[in-house]
């Protein structure tokens, strides 16, 4: 039975209970306040006499105490007010009003309280990506039409560098609910990465759809800027990014946007608005990585293995910022990572500072580290120094 059926049952039970007692009010006691106070006055008189017998009050003040009890009772009787007495049942209008309120108020409150729960709430102890993917898959096995879960799966797979699988998950989420602007933005971004940062074709369609739903979504405005760059509409890109900066609540996002906007303005001022060069000219830094291989890895059995050479942040998410994946047989000994190798357009290699260079030899070529992989890590380096890093796979 669905949640809403349960809610309706709960509400109906409550409303029936209420209507029953409106038609059949609980009987009022014969004892009213005046009688109660009179009875208590008598009891106090009796207790006073008992106190006298027990020696708890002196004979000389007994009469005075007795008078006081009588005086108090007289005042209390004077204060007594009247209350509604049993009469006809409430009108049908009143009953309907109460019932309608009881039916609507809980549902409206529930709607109000749960409408703010769209943003994922992170557990204090963040599970690993693999765990998260497993959890979402488990959830999807029970509710395969959960568009939100498909979107979360797409995001988790993207984080795991499984771009193709991520696109499939986003596609499924899109089929189930094409009206989620945030999902459309993520889908467009992932699609653009899969087509070497080309913001054309379906990517631009998705971005347009996202903006049709929410014209003020900063992420969608940011992507729309890149779509405009691809279409050589630099003025439009400038407008879109300025709006994104205004609307963005995230300081880091704002900083990135301001940086690329600044570079775009510089390019325009220098009157070199060659659109295809615009993105490239943002590339300012590179990291050169030399990898030394021991003799045993030069044997033919390793030729088909993959060498993943990448840069990741020194702290934070382990996902690569820029990466090259090469068959060992094709490896020359040196790799130069630039912004063109960046995985996410919004997170260029040049925009990072403290990073670690990693070389990993993998039989499967999977982005996720396997137990049999051989890995070498550099110390923390600064991208702005255009460093040359020497790594040795042991």
């Amino acid at each position: 039975m669905s949640l809403y059926i349960w809610m309706v049952i709960m509400l109906l039970a409550s409303v029936l209970w209420l209507i029953w007692f409106l038609y059949n009010p609980l009987k009022i006691d014969a004892l009213d306040l005046e009688k109660s106070n009179i009875e208590l006055g008598r009891q106090k008189q009796a207790e006073l006499e008992q106190d006298l017998q027990d020696g708890l009050i002196d004979q000389s003040v007994f009469a005075q105490a007795k008078d006081e009890i009588a005086q108090v009772l007289a005042v209390e009787i004077g204060q007594t007010t009247t209350y509604p007495q049993q009469q006809k049942s409430p009108t049908i209008g009143l009953i309907l009003l109460v019932a309608a309120f009881f039916l609507i108020a809980p549902l409206a409150t529930y709607q109000l309280l749960t409408s703010n729960e769209n943003a994922p709430v992170a557990a204090e102890k963040t599970p690993t990506l693999t765990q998260r993917i497993a959890d979402i898959n488990q959830r999807l096995a029970q509710t395969p039409n959960d568009a939100k879960a498909w979107r979360l799966l797409g995001f988790a797979l993207f984080e795991s560098n499984k771009i193709d699988e991520s696109l499939q998950a986003y596609q499924r989420s899109y089929q189930l609910d094409a009206k989620n602007a945030q999902m459309l933005t993520e889908y467009a971004s992932t699609l653009a990465i899969s087509q070497n940062n080309q913001f054309t074709g379906r990517v631009s369609t998705l971005v347009r759809e996202a903006l049709e739903i929410d014209k003020n979504l900063p992420d969608a405005l940011y992507l729309a800027g890149w779509v405009a760059i691809n279409a050589q509409q630099f003025e439009l890109a400038q407008k879109l990014w300025k709006k994104a900066i205004l609307l963005s609540k995230n300081k880091a996002d704002k900083a990135v946007l301001q940086q690329i906007l600044g570079e775009l303005l510089q390019l325009q001022n220098a009157k070199t608005p060659k659109p295809t060069d615009a993105k490239k000219s943002l590339t300012a830094h590179q990291v050169t990585i030399k990898v030394a291989l021991p003799q045993r890895l030069l044997k033919p059995e390793f030729e088909e293995h993959y060498l993943l050479i990448y840069i990741k942040a020194a702290q934070g998410r382990p996902m690569p910022i820029a990466i090259q994946k090469i068959r060992l047989k094709d490896f020359s000994g040196v790799v130069v990572l630039t912004d063109d190798d960046s995985i996410i357009p919004s997170r260029k290699l040049s925009q990072t500072s403290s990073v670690i260079a990693v070389a990993r030899l993998s039989k499967s070529g999977s982005a996720m580290r396997q137990a049999s992989d051989i890995e070498a890590l550099s110390p923390v380096i600064n991208v702005a120094d255009n460093p040359i890093v020497n790594l040795e796979l042991k």
Partner: protein, 639 residues
């Protein structure tokens, strides 16, 4: 889906509470002018029962989420895991903020249901007024729960395993201490509701005074029992061997207790003699306001304590606003109705009323001393005027001297007559027993050097002997002895037992923090502690080291104590003390850290009469319950 049903049940409970406050009020305001006004006034009870039912459903569903390890519920994921024994999974429901607040709301509804069911001697319309006030309080707490502390909040991605429940809370003490304490805290809402409904009706009459007293006594009994349990739990669970730390959160429960103590005494005067009405009203308002203040201190995050929940300024702000509305509103109502509380009942300086007034003033002064000691450092800190620490030295210097005359007055009060007494008669009645007490104190003075112990002997003897003499006199008169009177005697003796136990254990307790090697022996008060070593062990959700300390008295083996140092799965360490208890003394051992070469640090305590502290608390609670079930409060209604 079950957590969503639980959440929805809470919302229905909130709507029921809102209607419980509004519909009967409409009925009472419009009276006969509207058809159906009677039915509206009579809805307070059905709506309350409905509210209670849905709260019970929500509570059961939250408990179910814990038992079935539903980690998609954030609260469950943060406070339980699959390795937690089932009994602690259930008690973990109130192990953190959200669940404990749900328990709080459930207990408030339970108290309200009790009022609606057991107030058969109260006129129906008076009960309706009281339930309106209790409904308003419920609205405040349910809004707090739903707006800032939803226990059914879901995680988008459920973790495979939950976090660890605070190991301190994985104990029998957690199962009973918070519910008992909440029964006391929330119970203070009942006398508050009685007072407010009387102020609203404009009838501060005998009915209010007579019938609010048993409820106050029951709430006070629970508060006493809850605080006593907390002290006992802290003693054996925290591994420090202490029973009271003047922790701000302990103080937060102690302040309403002091006010409730004053209130039960003040009510007895108001009820019998019609005096002290102003005072009684203010005490009832203060008692509940202090309960709310305690809630604010624990849940706002301004305190760091074993009791405090996660810092959350939003929650703090909500309770502060609620507290302001409750205190401001009730004091405003008090000012409006002040003219109704005039009393012409006079009493002499030497009378039982005067003794009870002195007792009340001293209790309130004691409460204020705790209030200042608790809030002053917080105030300084919040104003950036520096950090100061107010601890035991302050409270011992300020609180204890106020309580000494209060204890002396407590015994005298029982001998005084209502309204007026003669000094000569009182002296005659007390002289013999005073002589005996003086003799006992003199003997103590000659044989004991410790002034605090001499003082404790004097006060304990003073209370116990006077109480017993009072009982003997009543028996000799062959008058009726009420349960209320026996309750008073038991509670007063409880104070003496507590006072004596606390002083003796503080003054004569021995504490040694030492390094011990295997088979090394340490002597404490004629007991030999032989360290037999440490072994690794594992429990359901922890591993750790278990020490073995053999305790001998002469050549007779008393016990082998096995203190533990646990390491829970999440890495949280925990000390489990080992205790050999008896009514006369406790032997207490806690395992510290390894110090190399097979040596360990150990804490060895010898605690004489420490159990008397909790025995005293228990006697006070029993005394209060006996008084609450006095025949006067069970008298059948005449029809």
């Amino acid at each position: 889906m079950l957590p969503e049903i639980g959440h929805f049940a809470l919302i229905i409970a909130l709507i029921a509470a809102i209607l419980q406050a509004i519909l009967p009020s409409i009925g009472l305001i419009v009276k006969a002018k509207m058809q159906g006004s009677f039915a509206l006034t009579q809805l307070s009870r059905p709506l309350l029962w409905m509210q209670f039912f849905w709260l019970l459903v929500a509570f059961a569903l939250l408990m179910n989420a814990f038992v079935v390890d539903d980690f998609s519920v954030k609260y469950v994921a943060n406070n339980s895991n699959t390795n937690l024994p089932n009994v602690f999974k259930m008690s973990a429901v109130w192990g953190a903020h959200e669940g404990s607040l749900l328990l709080w709301s459930l207990i408030l509804a339970l108290w309200s249901v009790a009022v609606s069911v057991f107030s058969k001697r109260l006129p129906t319309q008076v009960v309706n007024h009281i339930l309106i006030i209790l409904g308003l309080i419920s609205v405040g707490f349910l809004l707090f729960l739903l707006l800032t502390s939803n226990p059914f909040e879901r995680l988008d991605i459920a973790p495979l395993q939950g976090r660890e429940l605070n190991p301190l809370l994985q104990d029998f003490g957690l199962i009973i201490h918070p519910p008992m304490l909440y029964m006391g805290y929330v119970g203070m809402a009942v006398p508050f509701a009685f007072v407010l409904s009387s102020l609203l009706r404009g009838q501060l009459d005998s009915t209010w005074l007579r019938w609010s007293r048993p409820w106050t006594l029951v709430a006070w009994a629970f508060l006493t029992f809850g605080i006593t349990l907390g002290s006992w739990w802290a003693y054996y669970e925290l591994g420090w061997g202490g029973w009271w730390f003047w922790d701000p959160v302990e103080n937060a429960s102690f302040m309403p207790w002091l006010v409730a103590t004053a209130l039960v005494h003040s009510l007895s005067v108001s009820e019998k003699r019609g005096a002290f009405k102003h005072w009684t009203v203010l005490l009832a308002i203060t008692g509940f306001s202090l309960s709310l203040l305690g809630t604010f201190l624990v849940r706002s995050g301004i305190l760091t304590s074993v009791h405090s929940f996660a810092a959350d300024p939003e929650r703090g702000l909500f309770i502060l606003i609620f507290l302001t509305i409750v205190v401001g509103g009730s004091l405003g109502l008090y000012a409006w109705r002040a003219n109704l509380m005039r009393s012409n009942n006079k009493f002499a300086l030497l009378s039982r009323e005067s003794a009870l007034l002195v007792n009340n003033i001293l209790l309130v002064a004691a409460m204020l001393s705790v209030f200042i000691g608790t809030l002053y450092p917080l105030l300084l800190d919040s104003l950036n005027l520096g950090k100061i620490s107010v601890g035991a030295p302050y409270f011992n210097a300020v609180f204890v001297p106020i309580m000494i005359p209060a204890t002396i007055a407590m015994a005298i009060g029982g001998y005084l007559r209502w309204k007026k007494d003669q000094a000569g008669r009182v002296v005659d009645a007390m002289i013999h027993i005073t002589f005996v007490v003086a003799t006992i104190t003199l003997i103590a003075y000659l044989s004991i050097e410790n002034i605090y112990v001499i003082l404790a002997i004097f006060l304990a003897a003073w209370i116990v002997l006077h109480s017993l003499l009072l009982l003997a006199q009543r028996l000799r008169q062959k008058g009726k002895i009420s349960t209320s009177f026996i309750g008073m005697i038991v509670a007063h003796i409880g104070i003496a037992v507590f006072l004596f136990g606390a002083t003796i254990t503080t003054q004569y307790g021995v504490e040694k923090d030492i390094k011990m090697k295997v088979n090394e022996t340490v002597e404490i008060k004629g007991n030999s502690f032989i360290f037999r070593g440490v072994e690794r062990f594992s429990g359901a959700n922890y591993t750790g080291n278990k020490g073995a300390i053999e305790v001998l008295r002469g050549k007779q083996k008393i016990a082998i104590l096995k203190p533990e140092k646990r390491q829970y799965a999440t890495g949280m360490p925990m000390t489990e003390a080992a205790i050999n208890p008896s009514l006369l003394r406790d032997i207490y051992v806690a395992l510290g850290e390894p110090l190399g070469d097979g040596a360990w640090s150990l804490r060895l305590y010898y605690k004489p009469l420490v159990r008397w502290i909790w025995l005293g608390g228990l006697l006070i609670a029993i005394g209060a319950l006996l008084a609450a079930f006095d025949k006067r409060y069970r008298r059948k209604r005449r029809t």
